[in-house]
């Protein structure tokens, strides 16, 4: 039995886990990351899109090895295939090659002194006097013990670590998207745009996406609300139907990879901290409720958590009260934005296909851009002039 004794043990080496490890290592904290999989970054459970500002915040120099495609705009398709193109000033963002990006993030953390283990599954948290004091894990089939002053759970939607620490992170069907995706080759779609398809038949309370990756490759996926999933109308069924029904994009295309997953679209986790314990990323349901993107929020929470954890270590105080500084900071920033966007999600879910068609007709790209930022007051204003019949519905959900 191998034993480790570190300042911080991080469970999971996705974007959340590696960014928290990097930020801790930069502050000379002794950090050990435990990754269940034998390969960091694979299999992906993600459409790989990230906005330009979110990536810039990391302070990494962009590398063509993990930036698959630059994106300048989003093209939104209504149920009747009417289109509106939403182009921000400058670059919208990137489609990553996550299998490389995640290894690159791990490399950054390792260069700064973090240690990693792969093929190492955490099996339990160690509790002493009610506080988390480390984890037990199976590493290459052998039990290991990792003692840590703080354990950070970054183990994704299927996180067991938070549950073992006593925090309920179970997703509910009404707040959880059932996701399925092919990475395909032979896709015919404008390469520098995200393509988003909405409609109750296409993707009930969700959407279909095409995220181009270059050389005719693209992530082609779907998210539907979990309680809409049923035999014959599961995420995969609906995506297969969409691909079949849209030869304009998919004639001659074939899958080169398949991915599945769950996507939290509401925060139901009551707290992100306990004595000696923190949760970040998908494990904490830190996901944008309208588009289901999680990489940026995961990395943002990771930076906040690292700062608070490092300060707690300096002070020698790993209590829940001390670590709450992370949760409070998060609620003031990302959390407040998520709450605004959540209201927008609840409004959009009430729209029928006719509403969606007419909105795509009347809204300009700039209108949609501001709406995606969670500017709900602006939505009321724009509806008043452009789609007044939806105003009372919007008022009900946005105020």
């Amino acid at each position: 039995m191998t034993d480790y004794d570190v300042d911080v043990a991080v469970v999971g080496a996705g974007p959340a886990g590696s960014v928290v490890a990097l930020e801790l290592a930069r502050r000379n904290v002794r950090v050990l990351v435990l990754e269940k999989r034998q390969e960091i970054g694979a299999p992906k459970r993600c459409a790989e899109g990230i906005s330009a500002p979110s990536l810039q915040q990391l302070g990494l120099e962009l590398d063509s090895r993990w930036v698959a495609q630059k994106i300048v705009a989003t093209r939104l398709y209504s149920p009747k295939m009417r289109e509106v193109t939403i182009a921000p000033k400058g670059l919208l963002g990137y489609i990553l090659e996550r299998k490389i990006f995640e290894k690159y993030l791990a490399a950054e953390a390792i260069k700064h002194g973090a240690k990693y283990l792969v093929k190492t599954t955490v099996t339990d948290v160690i509790k002493e006097d009610g506080r988390v004091a480390g984890v037990k894990a199976q590493s290459w089939g052998e039990e290991i013990t990792v003692r840590a002053k703080i354990v950070i759970a970054a183990d994704g939607v299927d996180s067991m670590t938070a549950k073992r620490a006593g925090i309920d992170t179970v997703n509910k069907l009404g707040d959880y998207h059932s996701g399925f995706q092919y990475e395909m080759a032979g896709v015919n779609a404008d390469i520098d745009k995200l393509h988003i398809f909405i409609g109750s038949t296409i993707a009930p309370k969700g959407y279909v996406w095409i995220f181009p990756k270059g050389n005719t490759m693209a992530n082609v996926g779907i998210g539907i609300l979990g309680d809409k999933s049923a035999d014959g109308a599961r995420a995969k069924d609906l995506l297969d139907r969409f691909i079949e029904g849209n030869p304009r994009f998919f004639a001659g295309a074939s899958p080169i990879e398949a991915n599945g997953g769950g996507i939290p679209v509401n925060i139901s986790v009551k707290t992100f901290v306990a004595d000696g314990f923190m949760i970040i990323g998908d494990a904490a349901q830190q996901v944008n409720p309208i588009h289901g993107g999680g990489i940026a929020l995961a990395m943002s929470a990771a930076r906040m958590a690292a700062k608070v954890a490092a300060e707690a270590l300096t002070a020698g105080d790993y209590s829940r009260e001390r670590l709450l500084a992370y949760e409070n900071e998060w609620k003031k920033t990302d959390g407040a934005e998520i709450q605004r966007i959540l209201k927008l999600r609840h409004f959009v879910e009430k729209l029928d296909d006719n509403d969606l068609d007419s909105l795509v007709d009347v809204l300009s790209g700039d209108d949609v851009l501001r709406l995606m930022d969670g500017d709900n007051k602006f939505l009321l204003k724009v509806l008043l002039t452009k789609a007044p019949k939806l105003l009372s519905l919007a008022r009900k959900f946005l105020q």
């Binding site: 034998q38 093929k119 069907l173 059932s178 996701g179 399925f180 979990g226 999933s229 995420a235 599945g260």
Partner: protein
Amino acid sequence: MNVDRGRCMYCGGCVGVCPHQALELKEVLLSVDSDKCTGCGICAKFCPVGAIRGGVE
């Protein structure tokens, strides 16, 4: 012959050398703890590809 799941890398190399077709690669395993499962079916309803079936084991 037993497989140590904690060590197996699911690479399939052994399948390729087995003369008796006794091995089959079944990717990563999803385990169900039958002591805890109540058969409520939420997971089966959610599954994007319909890979989970049935009630309590």
